[in-house]
């Protein structure tokens, strides 16, 4: 009996804590969605109930913002950045793990050290570089600095440790060249690693703010994060419209995540079984 009570109490505690954590992570999201249905004044007053202003807010958002262009810009940058980052950084991660050389570890550590330099310190030199290259106000300037990502290289190297060397040996015996091994053996085997990296890189690129802000100069090239920032910084921001913008801006990352959730979890647990 006491045992039963103890078990019930511990279950209560567990679920209570889990419930609290779930609430803490879900509430901001819920508030954002409900905010999109309320007027700005109601949001300021702290209303957390569904309102009747959804269509008004959506209308206002689409009249104030050139949504198709802005989302196209964001998507273009995010997809291009993701594909290129995965291609370049996975090759680097593969190379670091597979090929031995005298300075491999030293080079690798030096690369990891770059993770510790805050972006703000690199911003102005990078900006001058892009200026000299004539790339200011282009999407390619947004994408380029993200391609060689030390974190993604690190992630791929870690995962490559689980890539069986027998597979590579067998492929060599079959007469495959190095690039063929990478493309036709490594990539398919590591697909859940790619999926997990895809989600991480896509989200980072989609939500990227500071660098696009610095390098993009015109209304035609702006991304959704910049547009939301501009809407929210008005003297009297229309929070309903801002909420519609944030909801719409969240959808693509949400879709990518749900679409790749299974692979993501697998990737996080380790690719190769």
């Amino acid at each position: 009996m006491t045992n039963g009570i103890g078990r019930a109490a511990s279950a209560l505690l567990t679920y209570g804590l889990l419930g609290l954590m779930a609430f803490l992570s879900v509430f901001p999201f819920l508030w954002m969605v409900l905010g999109a249905t309320n007027s700005s004044i109601d949001i300021i007053k702290g209303r957390v109930l569904p309102g009747e202003f959804l269509s008004t807010n959506v209308d206002k958002f689409f009249t104030q913002v050139n949504a198709p262009l802005v989302f196209w810009n964001s998507a273009k940058i995010a997809i291009l950045a993701t594909v290129l980052t995965l291609a370049v950084s996975s090759l680097a991660g593969y190379g670091f793990e597979i090929f031995r050389s005298r300075h491999r570890e030293r080079l690798y550590r030096a690369m990891l050290l770059t993770l510790m330099i805050p972006f703000a310190a690199l911003m102005i030199p990078l900006f001058i570089m892009m200026g000299k290259a004539g790339l200011i106000n282009t999407h390619i300037a947004v994408v380029l600095p993200t391609i060689g990502s030390a974190f993604v290289v690190f992630y791929f190297r870690q995962c490559t440790k689980a890539f069986p060397s027998e597979l590579r040996d067998a492929a060599k015996v079959d007469g495959l060249k190095e690039w063929q091994i990478f493309l036709f053996i490594y990539v398919p085997v590591m697909r859940s690693t790619y999926a997990a990296a895809f989600i991480i890189v896509f989200m980072t690129a989609w939500n990227n703010y500071l660098w696009p802000l610095i390098v993009l100069q015109s209304n035609e090239t702006k991304t959704i994060t910049l547009v939301i920032s501009s809407l929210a910084s008005a003297y009297y921001p229309d929070y309903g419209v801002v909420m519609v913008g944030t909801v719409l801006a969240t959808l693509p990352t949400l879709a990518v995540f749900f679409f790749m959730q299974r692979q993501f979890v697998q990737g996080m647990l380790g690719s190769v079984k």
Partner: protein, 424 residues
């Protein structure tokens, strides 16, 4: 395997081709003036109106108004100027008055001087002071934050005060009235955000002083106006006639919800006050209360910004002519932006136009714009200096100590120490 490679290669080639199209640079057309500013419903909309007016008489000049958040404009301007990459900058940029000296002094030669072209005697003197460095005037004065005391006639009447009683107040009298208002109506006198030094700044400038003197030296410990301002805010807090607000939206909520009897702030709040149709006819506007020290006035300013032309601009001559033609002379333009956007410019002659002459039924038929225009000309000129934001942070940090009863002289010393530390 080779088949697979053949299947993949065209895709890779396609990708490479696709990325070339991302290189598309937006080519600058001849005589297109690019402008950076913030707030799509205010500055951006106003600049588009100004541009449209200029294009009517100068069809060869078009405008590209790009909107970013205010902090984003500052960030981009800072990066662009620091990198020395000229094509990374717009032709005209909006800068908040409090930050103007910082840019003008940190980047000498980056902004085009307009003295000689623009007749600055037509503008509110305090706005011109903001953009003057070594006798040269840069920039075109734009919106003003001339302050007023917005009050609820109904609440004050309930407490036994008529509009006449609100006209020539001292801050001590204001607090007395506040106590009676609370006694009779249960409403607090004003909303106050303890993390916002805005009220301190308003009161200080109303007596012609700032955190810095005319030479830019820190002016904190020996500053009678700052001392009196802090004392006043301390008294308001200890008399407990305020409704505490956490942040801007909350502060706005104190008066839109009808919880407080007065609002002391810049004229740009008028639109928000009027956004509550159920409160029509219940509001009045008076000049702000004054301090009881030398140089005290009933006119002050909160916020406001101005336009600056970049020296590196390829369209510099057109940009200057545009600002001078529209913002420097077009009285009709000022009526339009007042009517449509509630923007009060700094050109004194604008008061002669129809919109400024109009009585506002929302304020019980008062000619509020004429009043604001009167006060605008009287705002004392001060030097906002390079470090206003740093000084503001120091004041905000010390406000809690003030409410806990620390002597004002000690608070001033603490602020001075913090400002000095921040500046070095």
């Amino acid at each position: 395997m080779d088949n697979l490679a053949r299947a993949y290669l065209p895709r890779i080639a396609g990708l490479a081709l696709a990325s070339v199209s991302f290189l598309a640079v937006t080519a600058a057309e001849a005589k297109e003036i690019t402008i950076w500013c913030w707030d799509p419903n205010f500055n951006v909309a106003i600049m588009k109106e100004a541009g449209a007016r200029y294009t009517k008489t100068h069809p060869d000049v078009t405008f590209n108004v790009v909107d970013f958040a205010k902090t984003d404009v500052e960030q981009k301007l800072q990066t662009g100027l620091a990198s020395g990459t000229a094509d990374a900058l717009p032709d005209i940029v909006l800068i908040e008055d409090y930050g103007a000296q910082k840019y003008l002094q940190s980047f000498p030669g980056a902004f085009a001087p307009l003295s000689g072209t623009v007749d600055y005697s037509g503008f509110a003197p305090y706005k011109v002071e903001v953009m003057t460095v070594d006798g040269q005037v840069y920039g075109m004065p734009f919106d003003s934050g001339v302050t007023g005391l917005y009050y609820r006639k109904d609440y004050l009447e309930q407490a036994g005060f008529k509009p006449e009683d609100m006209q020539n107040l001292t801050w001590d009298r204001f607090i007395e009235i506040g106590q009676q208002v609370e006694e009779k109506t249960g409403k607090k006198m004003m909303g106050l955000d303890p993390n916002d030094a805005g009220l301190v700044r308003i009161i200080m400038q109303s007596a012609g002083q700032w955190y810095f003197d005319k030479d830019g030296k820190t002016n904190v410990t020996g500053n009678p106006a700052l001392k009196a301002a802090l004392e006043t805010v301390g008294k308001i807090m200890s008399a407990n006639i305020y409704k505490p607000a956490a942040g801007w939206s909350d502060w706005v909520g104190t008066f839109t919800s009808g919880d407080v009897a007065t609002v002391v702030t810049g004229v740009w709040i008028t639109g928000t006050v009027k956004a509550q149709p159920d409160q029509a006819g219940k509001w009045g506007v008076a000049p702000i209360p004054k301090l009881s020290i030398d140089g005290a006035t009933q006119a002050s300013n909160l916020g406001g910004s101005s336009w600056y032309v970049l020296e590196s601009s390829a369209e510099k001559a057109e940009a200057i002519d545009f600002l001078n033609e529209i913002y420097g002379k077009d009285i009709d333009f000022y009526q339009k932006i007042l009517q449509d956007r509630g923007a009060v410019g700094s050109l004194l002659a604008a008061r002669g136009g129809a919109a400024y002459e109009q009585a506002d039924p929302f304020f019980g038929g008062e000619k509020v714009w004429q009043n604001f225009s009167d006060w605008l000309a009287k705002v004392p000129s001060v030097n906002y200096g390079v470090f206003t934001n740093e000084a503001d942070t120091a004041v905000t940090a010390q406000l809690p100590a003030l409410t806990q009863g620390m002597p004002v002289d000690d608070v001033l010393k603490a602020i001075d120490a913090e400002v000095s530390a921040q500046i070095q």
